[in-house]
Subunit: 384 residues, 2 copies
């Protein structure tokens, strides 16, 4: 196990009827900017709950944050923050709204071109405090110090991180998931599953708790995922799936172990170039990743096959074959496509994605830097 | 799943050669009081490492904290803190040293009789900041807001908790476990195992992540525990066991679920009355707890039998029998006694323990308050 440090200061408030508690969590007298996305919070009652909870505060609103939040959109929010002397941000939405708001929190205090935060990793020295009311469970951003922002001018989708952008609190009320479309619920399950895999499917590093906890999250998703997406709303099903998403990416599963975020890196390009949802891109890439990295990730793939899919095949390569099939079937069972051709994407994509990754120096990915250009090409080829 | 809130501000610094980093974690210019126990830190090199790391600080020392730290001992430390204007406490030791130091942190700022903190649950409004260099892994106190202190005048062993007594940081260097006696290592494994059981072995509450993570900790202990205690020091074995202990009681396994700390409550009496080590008392009580509560805890006992001990017996009562035997055998495999008679304790203990528990109102324990006086008596009787 590697050395590590861990401190996660986010206060999680989890459960039914918890939105009202934001009034106690935001410092009295704060000027609050509520940020949100396309307006679903007006339909599902969350906006009304938030507004009621903020009755003692002066608050402003900034809506229209896109899925894959855009730099230029978020900079408009930065202007409002500056003009209205906002001192607390309240993100009410899913991963995109939270990530966009984290960017606003950092960019407001940043001197110079704020895109440098993402593009050049420019250091963040402070940020406006923010809270979260989560309305879509998937990315884990509600309990971590990371954010992903897109720039349509430069055609980039980039991440940044800083301890300053940990939310002060995150409200997780599973009831808000009741009215989400099936496709978004499925995306949440797949995104969570892949987050776990990227912290688990590496070379073994004798970190038993981390491995078993990763397996615990995946098994929970397999147990509850289908019902979460397709059956009538059940509070406990939603609660378990929501908590799985938060626990998948609050940093704990990565402690002391190597990680491999290559599936996300490649997936991001599919989102930028072809507009696939984030999770859709992951469902396409992950099975290919398992296939082309089967040598380097052999031991963990065997463990994954046995502990996650209860497979008992004696021949280890057949065992891995079956584990890959099972994983792809799991994504399909959530009515999510797993092939580029299913999205009507032509084989030109292979070169297009490769070129973009090469341009960004994202070759030789993976915890062993073994995802070479050739293997990357094979990976993309086999996903048609 | 129940509603819950969670925030854990402890910074964990885990791994080899991490003790030196305390110099960066303690505010510059602090007057530090190092607290420790019987002096093992002088033999294992930890004291030298700490002293070197504190070369820029003014520091004082307070040694001699007992296993099961005593109120009167800790009040002597409070005096030093006041007289020397200490503003940072550094606990260098195991659970007892950390718990005792937490008490000092709270008692220094407490007005009135400080024993009221434990005995009357008197509220704590502030505490001196403290850090931890852990030298014995067991109680989980390094990442939680709880402490247990004994009072030999009143013959009490009582716990208290407050967010103010979270350590600011905890250094976990598995190398420090190298020179510990086998019995202390075994105690650590058993204490951790029982902590997990007390958050797991209740009625099921549809909290799948929590249940699976609890199982993950127990399976890790079963996998590594024997080697940890009896084989030559292996860094990864020690690291996994150490991390298991911290994760077992940092609050996460208890989120949204009922808990049942009855084994600890009864065990504490055995420690106070007969001087059993804390973990020894737990190894005696837990198998009896499983037996007398088999009706109320039926579902979880079945799950425990299958997921922890891989048992497949069709008859559910036989399955539970076997799980109880396996659990007791696990404790015995660590050369820890599991029967009161093995400690030379007479059957008078049944009434003595019962009377003490009754006097403290600790009857009808358990998450369903179903551990009645009769059952408690049966439990004690069957542990001879």
């Amino acid at each position: 196990m590697y050395n590590f440090q861990y401190k996660n200061p986010v206060k999680v408030i989890f459960g039914k009827d918890t939105i009202a508690s934001i009034s106690k969590e935001i410092p009295a007298g704060s000027r609050v900017l509520i940020t949100y996305g396309g307006g679903s919070i007006f339909k599902n009652g969350v906006y009304d709950q938030v507004k009621k909870a903020l009755s003692e505060f002066t608050f402003f609103e900034f809506g229209g944050i896109e899925p894959n939040p855009r730099y230029h959109t978020m900079m408009k929010a930065v202007e409002i923050v500056k003009n209205e002397k906002i001192d607390f941000l309240l993100a009410v939405g899913g991963g995109s709204v939270v990530d966009g708001t984290k960017f606003v929190a950092a960019a407001t205090h940043f001197e110079g071109n704020a895109w440098d935060i993402c593009q050049k990793g420019a250091p963040i020295k402070s940020a406006i405090p923010m809270g979260v009311v989560l309305t879509l469970s998937a990315t884990g951003t509600e309990m971590n110090p990371f954010s992903v922002v897109s720039n349509d001018e430069t055609n980039e989708k980039l991440s940044f991180g800083s301890p300053y952008i940990y939310p002060k609190f995150s409200i997780l009320d599973p009831c808000v998931l009741k009215t989400l479309p099936k496709s978004q619920l499925a995306n949440g399950v797949i995104d969570t599953f892949v987050h776990v895999m990227e912290q688990y499917l590496t070379f073994p590093n004798k970190a038993e708790i981390q491995d078993r906890w990763a397996e615990g999250v995946m098994l929970t998703l397999i147990e509850y995922g289908y019902d979460y997406v397709f059956k009538e709303f059940d509070y406990d099903v939603a609660a378990n799936t929501m908590w799985a998403a938060t626990m998948a990416l609050n940093g704990q599963l990565a402690l002391g172990v190597p990680t491999d975020w290559a599936t996300h890196v490649i997936g991001h390009e599919l989102t930028v170039l072809y507009g696939l949802d984030h999770a859709q891109s992951l469902a396409v890439i992950l099975p290919g990743m398992m296939e082309v990295m089967r040598k380097e990730k052999h031991e963990k793939l065997i463990r994954f096959a046995k502990n996650i899919w209860n497979l008992f095949e004696e021949d280890e390569e057949l065992l891995i074959d079956q584990a890959i099939i099972k994983t792809e079937e799991f994504f399909k069972s959530l009515e999510t496509k797993t092939r580029l051709s299913e999205y009507g994407i032509s084989e030109n994509a292979i070169d297009d994605v490769l070129n973009k990754l090469k341009k960004r120096g994202e070759i030789n990915l993976g915890e062993q830097k073994a995802l070479t250009e050739d293997r990357l090409k094979s990976l993309l080829e086999m996903r048609f």
